[in-house]
Amino acid sequence: MLGRIFSTDHKVIGKQYFFLALFSVLVGVVLSVFMRLHLIYPDMKVRLFELLWPTGAAGGIMTPELYLSIMTMHGTLMVFFVLTTAPQGGFGNYFLPLQIGAADMAFPRLNALSFWTTFAALLVLLGAFFVPGGAPLGGWTAYPPLSAVGEVAGPGQGDGMDMWILSIALFSIASLLNSINFITTVLELRAPGMTLMRMPLTVWGWFTTAIISLLAFAVLLAAGLLLLLDRWGGTSFFLPSGLVLSDRVLNHSGGSPILWQHLFWFFGHPEVYIAILPGMGLISTILSVNSRRPVFGYKAMVGAMLVIAFLGFAVWGHHMFISGMSPYSSIAFSVLTMTVGVPSAIKTFNWLGTLWGGKLRLNVAMLFALGFVSLFVAGGITGIFLGQPAMDLYLHDTYFVVGHFHLIMGVAAVFAMFAGTYYWFPKMYGRMMNETIGKIHFYITFLGVYGIFVPMHVAGFAGNPRRYSDFKEFEFLADLTRVHTFISHTSFTVAAVQLLFVFNLFWSMWRGARAAVNPWEATTLEWTVPSPPPHDNFGGAEVMVHHGPYEYSVPGAASDRVMQTEEKRS
């Protein structure tokens, strides 16, 4: 039993990451529903709030501090324990060795250690709800000075903030170990014939993501350490002189909160690509399989991923346009930010090129993949607004930003996870998920997320600040009441529909129709082994790779696909 729980099999660890992310996303969604409920009915007494937070919601009415702590936990859970965890730790662990013809990851025990460290990080984070003062209030970015001074900045900024920093430090260490494992596996354990340019784009996605993680999380770890020292050690890395809080002058001098912003966003912007790059690889695959066409411009797709990864480290300043940075720096960061549009456009163009003239199979995985492309374009275009300092001056810290990053980083990446779940479920469990329930899930979710996040852009244009716990005090926001009511009700609907997905997932595990070895008629290596694959993946057999990953509708071929393992005809 213990051997099964603390398994070193990459497939078990992949599932563990997947279910950890699933649990986190459910908690995160419930928290967002609480926020949306409070925003439109700030005076409504909710018995559940009082039960969960006897002090934060005495009488069933959420205090602003509780609202902020729920917001912080929502953001932290989603960014770290969902967007970073499921695509890379979950699907990456399960399918990377299978797709390159390896029996396991390079370091199986290190892999288990990464997962259990992530698990501990999640427990520590959730523990923040239960310490005196409750969860931290500073948002997922934890900006000092308020994150560095302790309880004087708010109830959750005491023990809760310490828990947050410890959790993120643990998470960073786990991610670093994980990336070492991923990169080594890709470099060293590819089957004979699996050249770099024969790797599925999913593998390229995990590989580039691992490279980004290896560098970005090291910087986050450094930043977290400095923050802890400012809180515990009396240092002044981020705390300036003469800071007055609650009529008390703090005994710190010479530090700069902007230093934290630089360090944090040097991690934080690459983090966006950590969340989306595995999805990009997966979407390329699903579009190709389900239009029976090779990925259009495979080499350009690989190049675009590497360029995105590289540029990801050069654009952090666009999160800081209003921090008082020099306008010259702003221009440099702005131009670099716009440059990200080039590889992004290459990817979008190639996705459309893959679909063009294809024999489309609109299964649920394909629908979510198409939804991903749509969301990626929509969220990307709003990024061009925000990437310009002049626009950002106005839009910064408004709901426009919330709408933007939810579309591109949140929902697009989540759509890739849904696509991945529907696509790979047959391999993981040997059964099919229900397509009808899946389609209902897709259409309502797809329309719903636009219904939630497009109106947020409108609210942002109208000047609606983010992070406010209620709007009724502000006359200029009165006109937006109906917009927020609409957003909230749509979000309740979308949240409820996710229960269909959860039901479909667990029901199909035991009751779904039996799946064939290769139900989607795909060509990559994971579809050559039984479902679920045996412990050693390929049964000890030497895998030989003869073809690229996307040979569909090859002229003169016997069927409309050529498996990667198929021997070349002489």
Partner: protein
């Protein structure tokens, strides 16, 4: 090279890259903090740091000779010397930004060295080709990083 050693070598280089990035972040924080605060005061670096540097350099040579036990002993002596430097600095963590960075850099480096000593001891008892390759790379990386940290501290003390 045997397969396990090849994996360990690649993994150790990647770990080194990550550790290097961690120290780059700390170093850039030092450079910026020194420039903006207006409260940077000169720090008298303890002389024992030079002895420690010699100990660490010697341990690097001993590692190349595969004398794991001796290398571990030298590494432990380095850590003891660093602890001595902490004692003799005459300032605490909150004794100004220069002292804070002194404790930060030596502390983070020391923590990594402690891990390295554990690896050396492991190799002394049951070295495999993989663990030998990995610990060797890791140990030299820490040696190189110490040289950079020392230069940074010398630069920053004025």
């Amino acid at each position: 090279m045997r397969a396990s050693a090849r994996l360990a070598t690649t993994g150790a280089w990647l770990a080194s890259g990550s550790i290097l990035t961690l120290f780059s972040a700390l170093a850039s924080a030092l450079v910026i903090r020194r420039g903006i605060g207006g409260d940077w005061t000169a720090l008298a670096l303890p002389g024992v740091l030079w002895l420690n540097t010699a100990l660490l350099a010697a341990s690097g040579v001993v590692v190349e000779l595969r004398h794991w036990g001796w290398a571990a002993a030298l590494g432990a002596a380095f850590l003891a010397g660093q602890a001595w430097a902490w004692q003799t600095l005459g300032l605490g963590l909150a004794g100004g930004p220069a002292a804070a960075f002194f404790f930060l850099l030596t502390g983070v480096h020391g923590a990594h060295v402690a891990g390295g000593v554990a690896g050396l001891i492991w190799n002394h008892w049951r070295a495999t080709p993989g663990s030998a390759a990995a610990v060797r790379i890791y140990w030299h990386t820490l040696g190189a990083i110490w040289m950079v940290v020392l230069c940074l501290l010398l630069w920053a003390k004025s």
